[in-house]
Symmetry: C2
Subunit: 496 residues, 2 copies
């Protein structure tokens, strides 16, 4: 029996042929994906920018995009040394240019010698360039006070997102009540919910404690996993530390408790540590999950499965466009590791310039090298400015009645809670909009400031937030915060 292709063409020909691919016949899991950081509000911001450039009158002169952690777009300058090495790697004829420092040249030579045909244009190994993975391993050992790191456990990635999605992909299996469940913090970075939706995995929410500076309570983890075991198979626990969008930095004790919980509940740990150099608050310090795990002794160090993620996009470098990153895999089953390597080989390799940049981040100029001074100066300036802006943001927002903002201990965002008057909630609901989306959209239209509504990250029912980056230059940030303040007061008045 041969079936015919489905057809709706009329007797006159095929001009009326319906499309093969429509919203009704496309992949249903893709439809479920949402990604607020680049969602409708950002699309409207881009439209407004175009309208402004076409001379249309607006109540503001420019659109300020505080929606995304895109440091260079906000005027942050790249680290000179990094860019010198990248230029040398791109065009090795510059190696004979005497204006480039010797340490930049030696780094470039080391990277090029590890590339096929000494060119960044060659594919690398799927797992990443050997010498870069070795440098990453040494970086982790230094960072973690000497805890050993095997370069074989390092996989270079296309930004951290690539590594996170790949790990989730490995973990997904089962159907119905045996389907893989993955625990994620609420509020979360929406890459997690998007990837889980696309993979058809079950998202298990655990709520961070806003009253205690967005800290993580083990009792809440326990509640979430207990409830989830009734409808799925919880297999992984994702942690974002320092937090995105919430900006908290976890204590060493908290991390130990999380590891014990993961061991007890048999969960694969995924530690998103891309903000590891972005810690500002007094008394706060970054502790890697790897280090804490190994300090807890062999009972944990030899059993708990952990993947941790880092990136070139954040910290003091902010090189998002290069899509560099790595993941370290601890205690992964050898056969699964082979499967991971195989899976990564299909996409051939992460971008080599991003790998080169990752190498520079983990192997920056050392004391005594010619570029050391300027590197330290640039890095310190960026991190001090971020610390200052973190404080400024918290302070100004907390002067506004109806806005309350936890300290920005780390990362690059504030995630203040906002009071939205009943009348505004009602108007939003009638429009079919989330109240905080309604609020942010109105702010964009009136002030040109682009924020992301808290509903894009998840929040407790009945609470409203927005995420704002602290990245604009200080003078611009001050203007921005004042505009937010004025808008909030106007909005509150209007809907009271």
């Amino acid at each position: 029996r041969i079936l015919s292709p489905p057809s709706d063409s009329d007797a006159n020909g095929i001009m009326s042929r319906a499309k093969v691919l429509t919203i009704d016949t496309m992949n249903p899991t893709v439809k479920k994906v949402e990604y607020a950081v680049r969602g409708p509000i950002v699309q409207r911001a881009v439209e407004l920018e175009r309208e402004l450039s076409e001379g249309m009158k607006k109540p503001f002169a420019e659109v300020i995009k505080a929606n995304i952690g895109d440091a260079h777009a906000m005027g942050q300058q790249p680290i000179t040394f990094f860019r010198q090495v990248l230029a040398l790697c791109s065009y090795p004829e510059l190696l004979s240019d005497s204006t480039f420092p010797e340490d930049a040249k030696s780094r470039a030579c080391r990277i090029l010698q590890s590339c096929g045909g000494n060119s960044m244009g060659a594919y690398s190994a799927s797992q990443g360039i050997d010498s870069v993975r070795q440098d990453v391993a040494r970086y982790i050992e230094r960072r973690d006070g000497g805890v050993a790191c095997d370069p074989d456990n390092i996989y270079l990635t296309t930004g951290a997102s690539d590594g996170i999605v790949t790990m989730l992909k490995l973990l997904v299996c089962g159907e119905g009540t045996t389907r893989t469940g993955v625990m994620i913090p609420i509020p979360q970075y929406p890459l997690y919910s998007a990837a889980l939706a696309e993979l058809g995995a079950v998202q298990i929410d655990y709520f961070l404690n806003e009253e205690k500076c967005w800290s993580l309570d083990i009792t809440e983890l326990q509640r979430a996993v207990n409830e989830a075991r009734q409808y799925c198979n919880p297999r992984a626990l994702c942690i974002i530390n320092p937090g995105n969008p919430t900006g908290q930095v976890q204590s060493r004790q908290c991390i130990e408790d999380v590891i014990r919980f993961a061991a007890k509940e048999r969960l694969f740990l995924m530690a998103d540590e891309v903000y590891q150099d972005n810690v500002y608050a007094e008394g706060c310090q970054f502790h890697s999950f790897k280090k804490v795990l190994f300090e807890m002794g062999p009972e944990y160090a030899e059993t708990v499965e952990l993947a941790s993620f880092h990136s070139t996009s954040k910290c003091y470098m902010g090189e998002c466009g290069f899509r560099g990153g790595y993941m370290e895999i601890i205690n992964m089953d050898d056969e699964v590791k082979d499967q991971l390597t195989k899976l990564l080989s299909v996409r051939l390799c992460p971008p080599v310039p991003g790998q080169a940049l990752m190498d520079l981040v983990v192997n920056p100029p050392q004391p005594g090298e010619p570029s050391y001074g300027s590197f330290i100066k640039e890095r310190t300036a960026t991190l001090s400015a971020l610390a200052e802006k973190a404080k400024l943001t918290e302070q100004v927002l907390n002067t506004v009645q109806g806005i309350s903002c936890n300290p920005v201990q780390g990362a690059m965002y504030s995630f203040p809670r906002i009071t939205i008057p009943e009348k505004a909630v009602k108007e939003a609901t009638e429009k079919g909009q989330q109240p905080d989306m309604f609020y942010c959209m109105k702010m964009l239209e009136e002030t040109g400031i682009c924020l992301v509504p808290g509903s894009g990250f998840g929040q407790k029912d009945g609470t409203y937030h927005f995420r704002m980056t602290i990245l604009p230059p200080t003078d611009k940030l001050k203007i921005l915060l004042n505009k937010v303040k004025e808008f909030h007061q106007r909005f509150t008045q209007q809907y009271s």
Copy 2:
């Protein structure tokens, strides 16, 4: 009812805890993925390289990797102009360096002006940098003799692979006999089979005609789709032109027939055209599916859905490591396009250096510009050398009894058919190996030459092939071909 976590720990503690993620509990679709181009034979080649470097004695002095289309790794030089612009974009201080030509500087300025904060370190729009997409559109219009191209239909990608996987992802739906089926050529480039396995879509094989220089017969397409309609829902037809691994270049007539077939059978067309500048044979010419589609009049031009793919990795530039690429989407439903853009936004953006490189490929130096002469000279030298090596490969291989090789009309590979003696087939089968894997593994161990067995690409039952790139420098290629010849003769004798 609260369930406990599964546990196999004994009374003495959790040290005996089984792993969360094992080969039995991982994603089953990932296990089905195969990617021969970087499979076991390449892993063995890497091992052999290490053994050689450690001073171990082998019957060869070096491993020659002819398994992958990695031009720079084989010694091909990058285009000077491209690398100059990339260096300028990486380190804009070089814009005041008088040794850089003015056209390189103006290209760099144009790219940087389109980047957030004038930095390649900023994220771009998810669809890619606006000005690059405009340049791509103009390139396509020139290439296709003026057929209009809308930049809104251009999506920049992380190499062509990223675009292909994304399009397949959109197309997958249904279960059982309504599950999406995708037609792919056999032999194919194994990205297709790998992506379909991972997505759980049905792979529908159509066989290229080896006797007619790997040409595509519409009757074979018809056979394949008719049979497939009994067990799945065929929704897409993938074409690779020029062919990988088969090296054929499709005639204009063939492309027209394919388009008519796709319209009649209601299939979404996917045209993998990454080798569009790699056409060597007399009388052969590259015709884009887009151009042919539009020349067939509105009945086709306004209805047939098409995605075509290009990349920075092949042609005369061979810049694989930068992971640049684009896809052009024709007649895609508007709602699906929104979903596509949303899906791409989750991975934020393709690597910006790769986008910059894609821009240079579509907008190279023009007559009258200072770099025009050297650009043309370098491009011509690379393409002429490839044409010469294509011919050389075919000629030498065809002198060997038991090897027969179609002309390498285009792309970068020969895919000769090899006769494997019965005794060798038997020995391979006993070892649980494909006979051509057995053959290639033996060749690697004896000669250091790394090829990919035909079974990794698919082939008619009972036939055997290997894929070999034509990329090594001419003198090295000659040595390589002679070694293949000697090995084949020795192998044949040994098993006769």
